[in-house]
Chain length 472, copies 2
């Protein structure tokens, strides 16, 4: 994520003190013990359980490394070096040899143009088996009902202020979801509580537990920074899209665009942030005001009338400027430059437990939410064709590509392939990444219209919703 955290790395605090408590859940993976960091360029050994397939607990103590790419890319040490090359910015996809991603999912990524040492995006694509939990009474369900279920899972994690949080989320979030979904097996119909609302609740809680695990294990395990998380779960005919951050998911169906997420930024979450600052003024540390003004106020304007917005307001009104209105606004800036406490440009995600306001010890985490918004799409309500896809992208894609441009690329690329050619979705993901990156020209990466392409990390999943590679 480009420029999302202003100087945040310089302000990360490595706290000492007592070791953090261990996770309570016995079959959730514990993080590895503290070890010396591996050399920066050394590729991270793939965790024992990563890659497509069932996700078993990772209790093995692994060597922690500073840089890795998704296991399903199957990168050799040389391939990893090419993926890490800011000058060439080669687009990476899983190889044609070897196992395909579930549903013939397409994936492509490219590293940033130099804004951070490594690609801080991470990705995960898994089929996850959920064992049933013993029911409340302690008895297992009847064997004839089956003991478990499977879900399909895709995750994009866009890191900032370091790659640690994104790596950890890519490795573990689906296991938290699996843990939460075990409760589905003891569900019996109760008022208000539908099966769908239980899956939504499971995903919401999994995000929270993932964030809590990052908080516990940040000391000594170098879970630096934070990450946006965009996650898709397919279970029993329904697609659940959970988003915490500024990545985006859209469905392109018969040319029509169906938004499946919205972005959480200081602008879209202004009222939530202001309300928190209003109810808990101690979080502002006497340095910030929860009020919003159209511009920074000068001391000489004290006593004059000025436009403002409070946490309950969508419109603007006038107030007389008082002394505390001279403080820095909790939310300020516009568009991609909007910031919470002059520091961070995204308001939901995982991690960031050590993030402080620049030149201050004021923590920013209380204003960030780890909870995703979950949207549900019923796959059985529509006869999908092979050209209908769900596109997930980090903000590197969407900063320079509109929904309509993505839909046009979907049409252009897929129509160039046979409907039953499973490689078409990878080609589409690559085309989307290439289209957002551009080509090197005039001292920069440029799009065909000569505007600048994205200098950020760019990662894209293309998930087909019907067709030859489909599920049943």
């Amino acid at each position: 994520m480009l420029n999302r955290v202003r100087s945040a790395v310089a302000h990360l605090v490595s706290s000492g003190g007592a070791p953090p408590p261990r996770p309570k859940s016995p079959d959730l993976p514990n993080a590895p013990s503290p070890q010396t960091a591996a050399p920066p360029e050394a590729p991270r050994s793939p965790p024992a359980t990563a890659g497509s397939g069932s996700a078993a607990p990772a209790k093995t103590v692994e060597a922690r490394a500073s840089f890795s790419r998704p296991t399903f890319l199957q990168l050799s040490p040389g391939g990893l070096r090419r993926a890490d090359d800011h000058a060439g910015r080669a687009v990476q996809s899983p190889p044609d040899t070897g196992r395909r991603l579930p549903w013939s999912t397409g994936y492509a990524e490219v590293i940033n143009a130099g804004k951070s040492r490594h690609n801080e995006d991470q990705a995960c694509c898994e089929v996850v088996y959920v064992e049933g939990r013993r029911s409340v009474s302690g008895a297992l369900r009847e064997p004839s009902q089956g003991q478990g279920l499977c879900f399909y899972y895709w995750g994009l994690f866009d890191g900032h202020a370091g790659g640690g949080a994104a790596e950890m989320a890519a490795r573990l979030l689906h296991r938290h979801i699996r843990e939460q979904l075990k409760d589905l097996s003891c569900w019996s119909s109760q008022k208000e509580v539908t099966h769908e609302s239980l899956v939504v609740g499971a995903i919401e809680n999994a995000f929270q537990f993932m964030d809590e695990q990052m908080a516990r294990e940040r000391r000594g395990h170098q879970v630096e920074g934070g990450c946006c998380a965009l996650v898709v779960v397919y279970l029993l005919g329904k697609v659940y899209v959970a988003n915490a951050g500024d990545s985006r998911a859209i469905i392109v169906r018969n040319g029509e665009i169906i938004p499946m997420s919205r972005e959480f930024t200081p602008e879209t979450e202004r009222q939530r942030l202001q309300l928190l600052g209003f109810l808990k003024p101690e979080l502002l540390g006497g340095e910030f005001t929860h009020l919003e003004f159209p511009r920074r106020i000068q001391p000489k304007e004290l006593g004059q009338r000025m436009l403002y917005r409070d946490q309950n307001m969508t419109g603007w009104a006038y107030k007389k400027i008082e002394l505390e209105d001279l403080r820095f606004p909790l939310v300020c800036g516009e568009g991609k430059k909007a910031r919470v406490m002059a520091t961070i440009g995204v308001t939901r995600g995982l991690g960031d437990h050590n993030l402080k306001v620049c030149s201050s010890t004021l923590p920013i985490k209380p204003f960030l939410s780890c909870f995703p918004e979950v949207r549900v799409y019923d796959l059985t309500q529509y006869e999908h064709c092979p050209d209908d896809v769900l596109v997930l992208g980090t903000d590197g894609l969407w900063d320079v590509t509109s929904d309509c441009e993505v839909a046009a690329t979907v049409d252009r690329v897929l129509s160039a392939y046979e409907p039953n050619d499973p490689s078409r979705y990878k080609a589409l993901a690559q085309a989307l990444v290439l289209g957002a990156r551009g080509t090197p020209r005039d001292r920069g990466w440029r799009l065909p219209n000569n505007k600048l392409g994205s200098g950020d990390d760019i990662s894209v999943f293309v998930i087909p919703l019907g067709g030859p590679g489909s599920y049943s």
Copy 2:
């Protein structure tokens, strides 16, 4: 509002102590001095400034009365008695003689079937002139630019636990809006701040100032209870619909329904309420839990797993029951029976400053919001015909009438009149009220389908959006 406040009247606290401070704004109306209440059935003398026409400050000390109906109904003492008759439930509208309401607006109302002594709904319809405020520098604007502007105003106020708050809001809220709109004259284009967002901000602030005035003047002035407020402002080509409560506004345009408000109830505002209880646990007084459960938990279930929802969740998940989960839930019940703190069924509105939890001194007001949601409809973007209307109704209408049924009645009634007959909108308002009230049969007020009609107060405005009675 039927059953909205459970036993709240019995728990109103009449606080003593020092007299409240006077309002700061010199030209905002002060409430009358404390006086002995007039006899219950005595009609309230119309305030000097009510009725259609410009709204001048009401500085005159008026006799406070316990019951009044909107001045534009022009009720005689006998008429007022009929309007107050629970047995007959005669539908009231402005007389055909005398001045018509602005835009040939239709209005009708009927009293409840006995749930409260008087009709606790109130209404207001005004044309309001706004003088320009002196600009920031102290100089008046150039005379050629004009010193002021006019807005059209309609308000429906649905009282609960007494009629005082609704009466006060009907008398004063438009004057608070006028006061706020004076700032429009010193507006010059600034980034982000549109003219529309200033009108929205003015309306939002006016609701807040109205609520603060009720808080200041509740002692000794019998501003009992609270009220929902649904308000329409027409200014410079745009219709602003502001709603705080569970009244509803819809536009019916060429048969199509355009929702112009949403209802604020414990169910629709669950997450806001829970968040407040979570951030400010002292507001729960150790009596309530901010968590939601599908049913009340029994002490013997301690330690077992139970479904719950927290303030960040839209789905349900499981938790182990702890001691404090046995407290009464902050939000409980479903549909019309949903309550905050087991007491009130609506979560936005004006007043309620003395409302306490039943058998407790715990105040409920901190959980209620006086801020409206404001929706804007640009009247110039569409060529409206005489059959296009904006319908405002208190929940007495909507409890038994769907949006589609209202649209069908709009079509049926208006097509029976000439398009240029200004009485058609009154006839429509009457038809809507009659259709929701029903007729006395089988020991109750019943609809043609034999279901029960609304036993609540019912009030309806029908505002034509184009046609002969139109504005320019």
